[in-house]
């Protein structure tokens, strides 16, 4: 469950997110749209708990460690391999049978063959796929995805479609996108930021 009342974020005088009200039940899928600079990323960072609101209230019914967050940046160590990155996150996020889970995700996103390559050698699309593996590794209750389709080719996008379809209803999803048509079938709520 996510509930926001007058949620606002400012950096000095600059308004990063104008006041927003939000009611999202558990298992819902919220589609956040809006032009560049409208506050999509700020809203997602607030929901993930990475930044605090300047005004208003925000309640998120998910513990730290139960949130899967995909950002514009992949949140991966460039000098570690894909497997090492997932192994580290698995240890920090207390994932049981993390090797099996990492292997399953790498296989699913078509990265198993490249599992021992450094992230620095990955293409942008491969990095995005690995970032999705990282966000899903601990089977989070709340999945916060900022432009998840960016840099993905059609095959990767189709894979993500399948993963999100499988999670819809069982997990709470908050997804920002410039391509709302792709996610509209899954969305149970929409928020258009101006």
């Amino acid at each position: 469950m996510i509930r926001a009342r007058g949620l606002e974020k400012r950096y000095g005088r600059r308004v990063a997110l104008a006041p927003v009200d939000l009611d999202l039940p558990r298992g819902a899928a919220l589609l956040v749209t809006g032009p560049n600079g409208s506050g999509k990323t700020t809203l997602l960072r607030l929901v993930a708990g990475l930044t605090a609101p300047t005004r208003g209230t925000l309640e998120v019914d998910a513990e730290r460690g139960r949130i899967g967050y995909l950002a514009h940046e992949p949140l991966l160590y460039r000098e570690l391999t894909a497997l090492e990155n997932l192994e580290l996150y698995g240890r920090l996020y207390r994932v049981r049978e993390r090797r099996e889970r990492a292997g399953m995700l790498l296989e699913r996103f078509g990265l198993w063959e490249a599992r021992n390559e450094r992230v620095a050698a990955y293409s942008r699309g491969m990095t995005q796929r690995l970032a999705l593996c990282r966000a899903l590794l601990h089977d989070p209750d709340l999945l916060v995805l900022d432009e998840p389709y960016s840099a993905l080719d059609e095959e990767g996008a189709a894979l993500l479609d399948g993963v999100l379809a499988a999670l819809a209803g069982a997990r709470t999803l908050v997804v920002s996108t410039h391509d709302p048509g792709r996610l509209r079938p899954l969305a149970t709520a929409g928020l258009a930021l101006a």
Partner: protein, 212 residues
């Protein structure tokens, strides 16, 4: 996963990243050795051991600064720190893991630099070595916190020395004292107290540095 297991995972990761990238340790080694060479030629004849110990501490502090400046670079690339901050472990584990990794790099650089100093300048007895070790602990503990603070700003290269150097002054006083004072115990005790106090403060403050 226990707190210490999280710290171990983070320290191990930093060591692995450094083994791959080989950016920090070679730079520290080159810097500290070239600094000692410069001091060797700059120090006038008959300047005495006291002056040499002072120069050793200049080299130690600036080598540590160099290591600290690079400490959070892997976390800044790809904004990895966000992923670590969201993990369910205590956030101070991130600071402790980084402190131990920076300490390991600094000790590795000193494993070469201190014998070189003893060979070309002055001998180092047990008290002097204990002083170096205790000061290393303090500067890495405080420096890792300050480095995280500086990394969040734009002018981090400028900010880091301004934050760390004032806090390193007591460490230099204690470190030089442990090498030259007739009774070094007082200086070593001072360093232990500094490490304890500033270690706890840094440990407790880190949470507020990484949350907006």
């Amino acid at each position: 996963m226990t707190y210490l297991a999280a710290v171990a995972a983070l320290t191990q990761k930093d060591l692995r990243v450094e083994l791959r990238a080989r950016e920090t340790l070679p730079a520290l080694l080159l810097f500290v050795l070239s600094t000692l060479v410069v001091f060797h030629f700059a120090l006038p004849e008959g300047a005495g051991e006291g002056a040499a110990y002072g120069l050793l501490w200049v080299a130690i502090v600036f080598t540590a600064l160099l290591g600290l400046a690079r400490a959070w670079v892997p976390e800044q690339e790809h904004r990895v720190l966000d992923g670590l901050v969201l993990a369910p472990c205590d956030r101070s584990a991130i600071w402790l893991g980084k402190t131990l990794a920076v300490l390991a790099f600094l000790l590795a650089a000193q494993a070469v630099a201190l014998p070189a100093f003893a060979l070309f300048f002055a001998p180092l007895d047990g008290a002097a070595l204990a002083g170096v070790l205790l000061a290393d602990l303090g500067i890495c503990a405080v420096g890792s916190l300050m480095s995280a603070m500086a990394a969040a700003g734009r002018a981090r290269e400028l900010l880091l020395p301004l934050l760390v150097l004032p806090l390193a002054i007591p460490l230099v006083v204690g470190g030089v004292g442990s090498a030259v004072a007739p009774e070094p115990d007082r200086h070593l005790l001072f360093l232990v107290l500094y490490d304890g106090l500033f270690g706890v403060l840094s440990w407790a403050s880190f949470e507020y540095v990484v949350t907006e």
